[in-house]
Amino acid sequence: MKFTGYLTTVSLAATLISSTASAESLTVYSPQGEERAVWITEQAQAVGHDITMLSAGGSELFDRILAERANAQADVVLGLIDASMATLKSEGLFEAYVPSWAEGLPAAYRDDADNMVYKFWQTPIVLAYNSDALSADDAPDGWLDLTEPQYSGKYVIGSTAWQTTKSYLVGMLVLFTDESGEVTDEGWDFMQQLYDNAIVVDSGDAKTAAFVNGEAVLDLNWFGGVGNLGESVGYTPVMIDTEGGTPFISEGIAIMKGTNQLDEAQAFVDWFGSPEFMAAYATEFGQVPVHPEAIALSPESVQANATLLTPQDIDWDAIAPQIDGWIQTIELEIK
């Protein structure tokens, strides 16, 4: 009767759900794009790490991990940026583990205090231009030039839920902070103009479309993304070594507290951050690793990239608590 019907539906639903969940493999949350996630998964499986990668935007993953704190779905998190990893660590979500490759890692990328988050590569957040559409003379010299009238409608600001967007917005706001660390009115006026001047999108497709139809010629992107976009749209990007420097973010890896596959997770972390795999990744995607041994093993072009741009001096640990408030102001007042 009614009960049986109900039970049938529930069990039917349960069967359908369980058919997708693969309980055995290690779940890795990572904001790498689909292509890179697939490549990492293939490489990992080739050496016996059975992993499932869940790719999503950095902030979306960050929110998910916080939301799932009581019921963690991930075993390992990799690729979230400094500030996000710092917050998750302070929420007590990570398991301590010193990876085999921690030896020799510069202190800035180690976690000597808690032994939880180890950084494996660095990513400059860059300003690039389409050199087929814009000459070097006409290109901006730095981030703060974007508000000039000649760049109106020529660049795209993505969703603030993307960690790239968040990083360059924060990188610009940091330039306008006073002694107490607050953003000045001048800084918010700049931000308003930056948005007023921009094409604002919520999806990667929409961003690509703005470059395809030729409206946008300036790309605010992470290092590897600049090349990807240029390739998919069909133009030659040139990165600007900006006045005042470019924000560098480094990405970390950590094991989630409460994972039921601790051994597998540790083995995966050891493998992933190893100089050999980092160098292989660098060869494949041009990503600059931070481990000196990995840099030494990387192709020359990657080694050259490591010194291509001037880093902006940002103390991520110090501004991490401010970022949510800044993004809220951008979302509720400026956007």
């Binding site: 009960f3 539906t9 993004i327």
Partner: protein, 568 residues
């Protein structure tokens, strides 16, 4: 209370079910409401209006409230004008091709929510067919001409007329034609007879439909999200933004504001409904004879307008259906597809990424319906068997979600279950599969209770008494007598609920996650994408949703359930 205890003693099963239903009410209705109130007014445990002030200070929030009010006011006017015009054309005037027009005017019944918004975007949006057609003639037309207030009000105007189609048409049929003839014999023109004789009889219904439109427009979510464009938000969207900014206090406060506006509407609606029933029509009316418009210019004008409205309503649907059979590459390049193929349908049913949202929506819909029907059956049958305060309270409790906008319920669920909660055995629902079907069930129960109550009221009590006097125990009587009679209603209500859940957007946008991404969210993401493959999949989704709606509504209509009785 005594009667209740007696009932439990007679059947311990009832006591168990009673406990389950009480738990559901506490966990999923009162708990979430409490959470919203707590976070809005005392996020840290002490009373505070900080959230209210912060909301008032935000430019984007103020704009969203302003936009919502403007859109609602404009929609009331445009929807009424178009809705009344449609009813006049169908029921009062002699217009050729009435069958075709009726078909066109009935499309808002099956073309709803995010599916309709996506369809409109496909025709009028940035790369829409019509946008490119107009640009071919006027190249100066900007790509994003169809956005903001214009786009949202336009879409509302042609999508929210379903109430007029259902209720106003029914009302005009109750008009006594003798009164119209009398007016005309006294020298009144067609128009004057309509305005002074027919309209007054329709007024209560027009008020009721106006309030339904207000209610829908205030809570409008999918349409502004898809069509609004940059720097245009309505309140529901802002609640979602605040939630994603991890400001539950502000999200809760704004959802209370939206809830208050909606409740005000419903109170007004009920007041007018109650008053309206006294006006009524004639008991045995002379059926209306459609009048022919005398003035030839007027006649051509009216007929032209009637067909224009029909074309506007049909255009997105025809194009969506056509392009669902077109190769993906023809989307965005051709105005009418030159070749037809089934490959998009094959993709949806064979590729996991395309099929999973469809499966998720069906599974979650069925689970929500099963739970909802079980609870509704219990509540309604108990109200029948055991009269008294407890039954009434239970009945009212499960009707509460009817007056709460979906974002309110969703925020409540998020705030109650973002960490382990003893009410659900110490689990965390947020981020899991079940939170969304629970939200669906909460939203669906009021309609289920309404229909089941009506079905139970029509039961002949003597059947039950006869069985009882023959010694049949209560569960046996329920299975053999009650259930067979109410079963058709259960099936139809389930069908209609599944139908509305297939394109449910408001609850979904808040509660979905990677484990349960439903069809509506896949559609929404597809609508924002500029990838033609994604657009092609979207066309198929919309066609499937419309086909399903068509089947359930036809069935519901056939079995006399009426199709416009959707909850919102």
């Amino acid at each position: 209370m005594n009667a209740l205890l007696k009932d439990f003693r007679r059947s311990p099963m009832q006591a168990v079910l009673f406990a389950i239903v009480i738990w559901a009410a506490v966990a999923f209705i009162f708990g979430p409401i409490w959470s919203v109130l707590k976070f809005a007014f005392a996020p840290d445990g002490t009373a505070s209006f900080g959230a209210l002030f912060e909301l008032a200070e935000s430019r984007r929030v103020r704009n969203a409230i302003w936009n919502t009010l403007i859109v609602t006011l404009l929609s009331i006017v445009t929807v009424n004008v178009i809705g009344m015009f449609q009813v006049a054309v169908l029921e009062y005037l002699k217009v050729p091709g009435r069958g075709f027009l009726r078909l066109a005017y009935s499309t808002p019944l099956i073309f709803v929510s995010v599916a309709a918004a996506t369809g409109y975007g496909f025709v009028y949006g940035q790369t829409g067919a019509l946008t490119r057609m107009i640009q071919a003639v006027y190249p100066a037309l900007p790509n994003d001409w169809f956005s903001g207030t214009l786009a949202v009000v336009f879409a509302h105007s042609f999508l929210l007329t379903s109430f007029h189609f259902l209720f106003l048409r029914a009302a005009i049929r109750r008009v006594d034609y003798a009164t119209v003839e009398a007016a005309r014999s006294l020298g009144a023109s067609n128009l004057r007879a309509f305005v002074q004789v027919v309209l007054p009889v329709l007024l209560p219904t027009i008020f009721a439909t106006t309030l339904l439109v207000t209610y829908k427009s205030l809570g409008s979510f999918a349409i502004p999200s898809v069509l609004g464009g940059r720097r245009f938000d309505m309140v529901s969207e802002l609640i979602l933004t605040l939630n994603s900014l991890r400001r539950p206090d502000m999200a809760a406060m704004l959802s209370i504001g939206l809830g208050a506006a909606v409740i005000l509407c419903i109170v007004a609606m009920q007041y007018i409904e109650r008053r309206g029933s006294f006006i009524g029509g004639a008991k045995t009316p002379v059926p209306i004879e459609r009048v022919r418009i005398g003035n030839p210019i007027m006649r051509v004008l009216v007929i032209g307008l009637a067909y224009l409205v029909a074309v506007i309503q049909l255009l997105p649907i025809v194009l969506v259906v056509l392009f669902s059979f077109a190769p993906a590459k023809s989307i965005g390049t051709e105005v009418i597809p030159s070749t037809l193929t089934l490959s998009n349908y094959v993709t949806v049913f064979s590729q996991d990424t395309a099929f999973i949202p469809l499966r998720n929506s069906v599974v979650m819909g069925l689970a929500a319906i099963a739970a909802g029907i079980l609870i509704s059956l219990f509540v309604v049958s108990m109200a029948q068997r055991v009269k008294g305060a407890v039954s009434n309270a239970l009945d009212l409790t499960f009707m509460i979600p009817w007056i709460l906008p979906a974002p309110f319920v969703a925020i409540g669920l998020i705030l109650s279950y973002d960490e382990p909660n003893p009410l659900v055995l110490g689990t965390t629902l947020l981020g899991g599969f079940w939170i969304l079907p629970i939200g669906y069930a909460i939203g669906a129960i009021p309609m289920m209770i309404r229909f089941l109550r009506a079905a139970f009221l029509s039961l002949d009590p003597s059947l039950n008494e006869a069985a009882q006097s023959l010694g049949a125990p209560s569960y046996y009587r329920f299975v053999r007598i009650t259930l067979p009679i109410v079963l058709p209603v259960i099936v139809l209500v389930s069908g209609m609920t599944l139908n509305s859940l297939m394109s449910e957007y408001s609850m979904s946008a808040f509660l979905f996650n990677v484990n349960n991404k439903p069809l509506s969210i896949a559609l929404f993401e597809g609508a924002r994408s500029t990838n033609p493959e994604q657009a092609a999949i979207n066309m198929v989704y919309i066609v499937l949703i419309m086909a399903f709606s068509l089947v359930t509504i036809t069935l519901a209509d056939k079995y006399g359930l009426g199709s416009g009785q959707e909850k919102r």
